[in-house]
Each structure stands twice: as structure tokens, then as C-alpha cells.
Symmetry: C2
Subunit: 321 residues, 2 copies
Amino acid sequence: MHILIIGGGGVVGQKLAHSLAKRCELRGQAISKITLADIADPAMVDAPFEVACVACDISQPDSVEAILGADIDVIYHLAAIVSAHAEEDFDAGLSINLMGTLNLLRGVSKLQTKPVVVFTSSIAVYGGEVPDPILDHTFLNPQTSYGAQKAMGELLINDFSRKGYIDGRSFRLPTISVRPGKPNRAASSFMSSILREPLNGQEAICPVSDDFPHYYLSLRKCVENLILGAEIDASDLGLNRCMMMPGKMWTIRQMIDAMTAVAGPGPAKLIRFEEQAAIQEIVKGWRYDLRPEKSLKLGLSADESFRDNIRYYLEDDKPVV
Amino acid sequence: MHILIIGGGGVVGQKLAHSLAKRCELRGQAISKITLADIADPAMVDAPFEVACVACDISQPDSVEAILGADIDVIYHLAAIVSAHAEEDFDAGLSINLMGTLNLLRGVSKLQTKPVVVFTSSIAVYGGEVPDPILDHTFLNPQTSYGAQKAMGELLINDFSRKGYIDGRSFRLPTISVRPGKPNRAASSFMSSILREPLNGQEAICPVSDDFPHYYLSLRKCVENLILGAEIDASDLGLNRCMMMPGKMWTIRQMIDAMTAVAGPGPAKLIRFEEQAAIQEIVKGWRYDLRPEKSLKLGLSADESFRDNIRYYLEDDKPVV
């Protein structure tokens, strides 16, 4: 079992690799190798099997074909230009999110094999006048380029699967919180920063009011779901291989209260509320009343409470000073 | 008012050009020029204003940029590799239907203007386990490459519009019947052939049984709707510029009965039923219970009865022997 993780240098890719290194098997087979690919060489991950780290620019067909081979059984395609970044740099979003996905799938279609491809879409595919709640058969009406490009990626995953080139499956990730590491260029970046920085003893700015509701999942659960997602039997996916990944709706206030319940009253005092128009403009159209029936039925799951999200961050990710 | 019709050599493009040549105005402005573009030089159309016919391969960015200019006010993007063709030649479908649309929109985004772009999508975007009826906010779950590529085109039309590069609108065309001309490589081609050939005194084969239901529109109504579609005020389109074009559901039997009511009992005797697995495989997943509320509200309309579809063919299109 050789697993290729594209976007293997990112927060989700690294955590997934660490989790697979502990697990040592996927889809009932022992893992013999993981290849981590990213735009720059990803950080090495210790494992009891071979791990290769390679640089790859998926916007270039040659670059992506160079890392593909008939020995690859499972591909995780996690690489993306995130939301605010794709709004600022429209061409970069098209090149990586749309063309990168197309280049990858076209490259795979030239192999004589049919690898499992797990693609991370996003709940940013939802928006517009579409009525709540969001159900499995709700129209995708993205209001960002990132969301539009993810929705196109889903259509490619479905069509390349239908044609028999891949065994694809795609999961619309909720916003990950508490996401470890540094802030990134996602408009949702603050939804982790306002907890992570205070938990690390630093100040943070919240650009929206505390009744802002959104749909979240912990990184630990996300990785568990991505592993389960690769293991779903193709015959259980039906005629649409793309679905919501389960999450839960919380307001900023509920998240802060959960942090206080787990870590005491100190961290919450480090949050300053300062409304920011550019961020609000992007996030105001995001949807949070989601009912992921299909993925729940297939065994994926959400966090029990946001206190779990806080605890997982403290247990798994908080930097040791 | 300079109008560019990409796919201007096709059945819809030619009829649209003829109709605009009679009308002489669009969006309240006198038409000064129509440019017809297609993979081969399109047939000339007589008009009381300039008509240019140019060859253009939209799969090539340079080729499409060569026909774009800041003087273009309205672009009709009708060019496509049709359904059965895109199933047989996967690369051609991606090159023309996906990349062609992307090349066009990227080319337009380099102009300093914001032309109206009317894109013809298809009801082939619907399919899979999605429950009937198909409503304005129903999930697009295409089960053909053609449908998948049209759905991606819609996402591009919405996103390039949201970014301010175009004033886009897209209409999911019902199957056009009675479509004039020769059979094409659409899986739906027989849905016109079984009427057109008998009306022209020739035999025809029907590859499905006579209770097969589908969703239809006449070519005359389709062109009327495309003209109205260009005239809709952008502010009335909301946050999703892509919608069903109205049509009506008829069975093969109802269509044949309508032909008999208009043209007498002779033509129906020229139809031979011979079920064909390859065609049935494609069309069995197509959807016909569609409720195009949004486009009806915006003034678009369907045919009153299928007898009208037959009459329009006889009045507008039947070859003079």
C-alpha cells in the first residue's frame, strides 16, 4: 500500500501522515510507503515504513506526472489555494485549485491502475439564495472563487470515477478549529486564531461579533474521517461520490465558553473584538445549517462538543515551550 | 451593439443569427455587427448590418483571444462537444467544453469591458439519486462527461460574473425537438430524427420505447429565450446566474401523435422501433420532471403544445424540395 499525499506539507497533510504512520495500514493493507508532495519539500514524518518527501507544482502537468506511478494505491489530494488567497489572486486559484486537480486526474488516467483518490472539498461550495437547511441534494452555489473551484473539482472527481479512471470520493470539510500552526490566508483563519493564540498565551483579534455561527470540526476528527473516507466501499458511494464531512454548528461565544470550561478564564481575556469588513464580506455568505446524512450513514462523524476540539488541540498540537 | 456568437455555425447559432438579423436590436440597442465564430468558417447570414464569419478553436487560448475585442457587447457561447461525442472522446470534451469555456472567459477578463455572456448549459447537468422534481435549488449530479463539463461551465460563468469580468447568464437547454438539419452525435439526436425524417418523407429509427418521457423545447422558442436571456437585467439574476430554460415533458407517443395531428397519418408510418443499448444507457438517467420557476418568472417560456414544435419545424425549417 503506497499512499501519495498531495498537499502533504500542510496542516491536514502532516497530521494525516502522522496518523497513518501510527496506524500502519489502510483499506486492510499494510502501508509500505507514503509520499508527501507539496509545492516545497514537505517536512519529514517518522514512520516504520518508507516516507518520501517531494516538491511538486500541480499547476504543471509534467510536474504532477513525475510523482505519479502505477504503484500508488491511494491518493489524498489536499492541496489548495485557500479562500481569501484565491479571492486576491484569481489566477493562482484557477491554476492550483482547478487546473491542478485536472492535471492530477488526467495524469492518473494515463496509468493502467485505478487508485482511490480522496479529494478535500469545502463547505464553501454552499451559498447564495439556496434555502436552509443544506441537505445531501442541495444545489452548490459558491460565492467565492475557492468554493467555485472546489465545486468544479468535485465534478471532475465524479466524472473521472464514472469513466473508471479513479475510485474517487470527496468530502466537503467544515472549518477546522482549533487548527494548529500559524494563521493562513483562509478567511476562516481567525476561527482558530481566536482560540489557539490565547491557549498559547498570546493575544488574538476576532473580526466578527460573538454571535457569528459557523460549522466546525476538529483536526483530529477530520483526519479520522479522511482515513474512513478512503476505506468506504465504492459500491456504497452511489452516483455521487462527493458529500459533506460531518461537523457541528457553534457560535464564537460557544467556542470561547468551551475554551474557558477546559482551560480556565485566562485565555478568553486575550481576545479583542475588532470587526473587519473584508473578512465579514467573505464569511457572511457562508452556510452553517448543514445536515450531512450521507456521510453520517457511511460512518463518518463530528465532534461531540466543542470542549473536545479544545482538548484535542491541547493534547495533540499545543507547542511545547 | 456587436454580438459574437461562438458556435455560430451550429443549428442554434445560425437560427439565433437569423433571428437577430430580423430583429436588428438587442438590449434596446441597434445591432451594428454580428461575428459568427466556429471551428470551421460558419455559413454567412444575410443581415442589414455587418456579419463576419471567422474560424476559431476555443481549446486554444490564442485562437479565442484573436476574436475578442473591447467592442463586443454580447457574447453567446454555444459551442460544445455534444453528449455521445464527449463520452466517446473524453479529451475532446474536456478541451472544448471545459477548457474552451475557461479560455473564453479568461480572454474576456483581459478586456477592460464587461460584456454580457450567454452560456448554453444543458439539462444533462441533472442525474443520479437526486429526488424528483428538479427545482431551482436542486443539486447538479451529471452522469455524462458532457453534463459534468456544462456544470463546470456554469460555475465559471457565476464566478467570472461575481468577480466583475463578465455579466454572465446561463440556461440549461431542454432537448431541442424538432431540431432541423442532419443527425448529430448527441445521444438525444433521435428525439428529432424520428419526427424530422418522417416529415421529410424519410424513414427513421426510434431506439427507445414509445413511453420514454423527456423534456423538450422547440428551436424557435429556444432562440426566443436566448434573446430574452441576454436582456434580463443583471440585478434580477441574483446570486446564481444559471437556471433551467423552460421546456415541457412529452413521451415519444405524445410527440408522434402531435405529428399525426398536424401532418396526417403518413409520417408516423415511417418510424421503426429498434431498441439500442448504447443510446438507452445514456438517456435512461436523464431527468424530465423539471420545474423551471426562476426562468418562467424572468419571462422565458416553453411551447404550448408539441403540435407547435411540429408546426414550427414545418414553417421554419423543413427543406424545400
